[in-house]
């Protein structure tokens, strides 16, 4: 467990050095579920697994809730999100440099409801955080807002 994590971190550091992308060395885990009630799933690399309080989230994961499901997630830049029932939220891109606070946060709500309190990424650069729906793009200058898409 510990060992594989070490290797992963090394790989990320290498990727970081190669791409000069502003990502932190621990970039694999970018967020954690603080609330998970009812049916809550994470989709990662074509696989789906249930999410619980304490489950970690990685960039490009998708969060799916069932008819009775709700989830609250805290990111490493202190951005907070929650999704209501029957929701699909994809984290499309996430990177955070904990020294400069530069980063990028792109999320896509394809269905359902979303509540957001933006964190250090949006505070540092006004164009760094975007939330999309199938038809709209939200540029997030801060801080607290709600989104519903679909019917």
């Amino acid at each position: 467990m510990k060992f594989t994590r070490l290797i992963d971190v090394r790989r990320v550091v290498l990727a970081c050095a190669l791409s000069i992308a502003p990502i932190a060395a621990w970039a694999l885990d970018i967020a954690q579920f603080k609330v998970a009630k009812g049916n809550v799933y994470v989709e990662r690399g074509g696989k789906r697994f249930p999410a619980y309080v304490g489950t970690h989230l990685q960039a490009t994961d998708t969060v799916v809730t069932g008819a009775d499901g709700v989830a609250g997630i805290t990111f490493i830049d202190n951005s907070l999100l929650s999704v209501g029932p029957n929701s699909v939220l994809a984290i499309e891109r996430y990177a955070f440099n904990s020294t400069t606070h530069e980063g990028v946060f792109d999320a896509m709500l394809t269905r359902g409801t979303l509540s957001v309190v933006s964190g250090k990424i949006a505070k540092q650069s006004p164009d760094a955080m975007k939330v999309r729906t199938p038809s709209s793009i939200l540029g997030v200058r801060g801080t607290e807002f709600l989104v519903r898409t679909g019917e």
């Binding site: 609330v35 904990s98 979303l114 801060g142 709600l146 989104v147």
Partner: protein
Amino acid sequence: MHRRYLGALVALLILGGCASSKDLVVLLPDKDGKVGKVLVQNPKGETVLDSAYAAARTGGSLQRNTASQSEVKDVFGTALAAMPPRPVSYTLYFESGTDEFSDQSKQEVKRVLAEMARRPAPEITVIGHTDQAGPDSVNDALSLQRAERVKSILVRLGISPDRILTAGRGRREPLVRTADGASEPRNRRVEISVR
């Protein structure tokens, strides 16, 4: 005779419907009463939400109006109830020139532990800050070093290292504004963000 046009019209309406799912975006006042800003762009136009409960609605067109608190509760109440607890910050100072916490900071560490015990799946980021003396490269390294030292102290106190991230913020976030190059003990600090 008009059937062909009718068909085209229906197709257009359906396409239009697909391109603009029904979205509702509402800006809320922040916890401290301030109001942020969200830009909403859509094939039908764009609008800026910059007042409390300002709302953008899409469908046939893009409308900007306000959402009532009861609508917010009806549509978003369940999601809002699932919001994670807000992160809280604590600041630690050192006895000058040592690795020892000041007495006040020892109390602050107790508060950090108590706050962690209250939270679901608690994590912390230990963030080192420096004063304005010295170049960025030195301050970045120094602030991270100090954060790492505090991490090792917290691990000794029983916090699992898996739950601790460290960050060196250098001199980018002074607590007290000073002249460039100024030595200022209040800026040489470590912040613990509990989330």
